[in-house]
Amino acid sequence: MTTQITYDQAPARVPSVWSALPGFRKSWPGLLAMAILALLCGLPGLNFLFTLDTLLHYIDAVLPPIYGKGFFTDLLHMNYVVNCLIVGILVRNVIGVPKSWEPGLTYSGIFMNVGIIMLGSQYLLSDLVKLGAVSVVIMIFMVFGGALIFTYMGRWLKMGDSMTALLAAGFSMCGVSACIAISPMVRAKSEEVAYAIAVSVTFGFFCLFALPFLGHLIHMTNDAFGLFSAAGVPNSNQVIATGFNYSFEAGRVAGFTNIGRLVLIPAGVLFIYFMTLGKEIRSSSVSYWQIIREKFPIFIIGFAIVWTLNCLKVWPLPASEAMGRVMEWFFSLSFIGLGLLTKLSDLKKAGAKGVVVGYVAGSLRLGLCLLLLYIATKMGVLN
């Protein structure tokens, strides 16, 4: 007896991971736009004449100083990070972005990951000794403590389990990615996902400009500020931008300590899942191993390879410096992309209740983070 296999019986083909990436033909306009805008803003180390950075330095040199400082470079701290972000945001929200740019702009996440991997060339074993323990402790407190703050606040305001879980994931871990990752597990509605993403992105946008000012105001050290931005800002891209907005050293520390938070994503997702959902939903079949496997950020292996090679002094210092420069170019591209993807209309989408819960709980997290950093500094484990 022979069995006939019909098309209905054949197992559905699982799409390849590579099919998720838009091809070069679709992406080149957006990629070219990012490269041109980044060049016009002024890439670190490339001294072109007609860039925004050169223009701002020229204006500062021509205008009389304010309290002995240049207005743009010293008082407003306009550096390549702020220039790229502001130009990107202005182009998106004032001029508008053509549809043909959109696929290419999604590559900004790749450039950010490239920058983070290359950040490994700027660290030595002494950095891990200096920052490793304190950053791990602070990250654990912030991921799990932050999730608790959101959970209790959500329950107190009767916000609903799925919305609470989405906001807790978005703010305690990796913003947009964490919101989307947890959405099917908590059976969130599509409008709830959009709402939570809007709240976390707009809060991160606010942090991007407000935290460096706060840091300068209270004279935070580079190490403390790097940790502060990694622990307090929701989205990874915004973490790196906030750190580099303060100083190169703070950006370096932010990138390094943010890796601790990325590693904690699978554990954090499961923690929020258990904290926010009722017994009846929790009893549904969720494979914990699958969650850990799917949510673990693989690109960290790349960072570990580059960092290990740098610790072993496989390449000499000039090569390490060149890698640092190229890393900044990749970050510039991703900051331009981040700006071009920031829609100010999302602020409206966030709505009143989401803004209240997200911003109040997000600010509480920032306060908790400052307290932890203060304790760490007093204990002498942080500069």
Binding site: A20, N113, S183, A188, G302
Partner: protein, 57 residues
């Protein structure tokens, strides 16, 4: 009444499927972004390392 309840259940299960599909798509994109980033970054590090030995800086 029963029709209305069934219709709303259908709608919510449709929406759940949409959310699951979006999460799957995002997860796949996230992974491919990580692979591409590793290829570009490790390639760039290897090129800069070689350029140093060729005496470019």
């Amino acid at each position: 009444m029963a029709d209305v309840t069934n219709k709303s259940l259908d709608q919510s299960s449709e929406d759940l499927k949409k959310v699951e599909a979006a999460a799957d798509e995002k997860q796949r994109r996230h992974r491919v972004d990580e692979y591409i980033a590793m290829i570009i970054a490790l390639g760039a590090v290897a090129i800069l390392w070689c350029l140093q030995y060729l005496g470019f800086y």
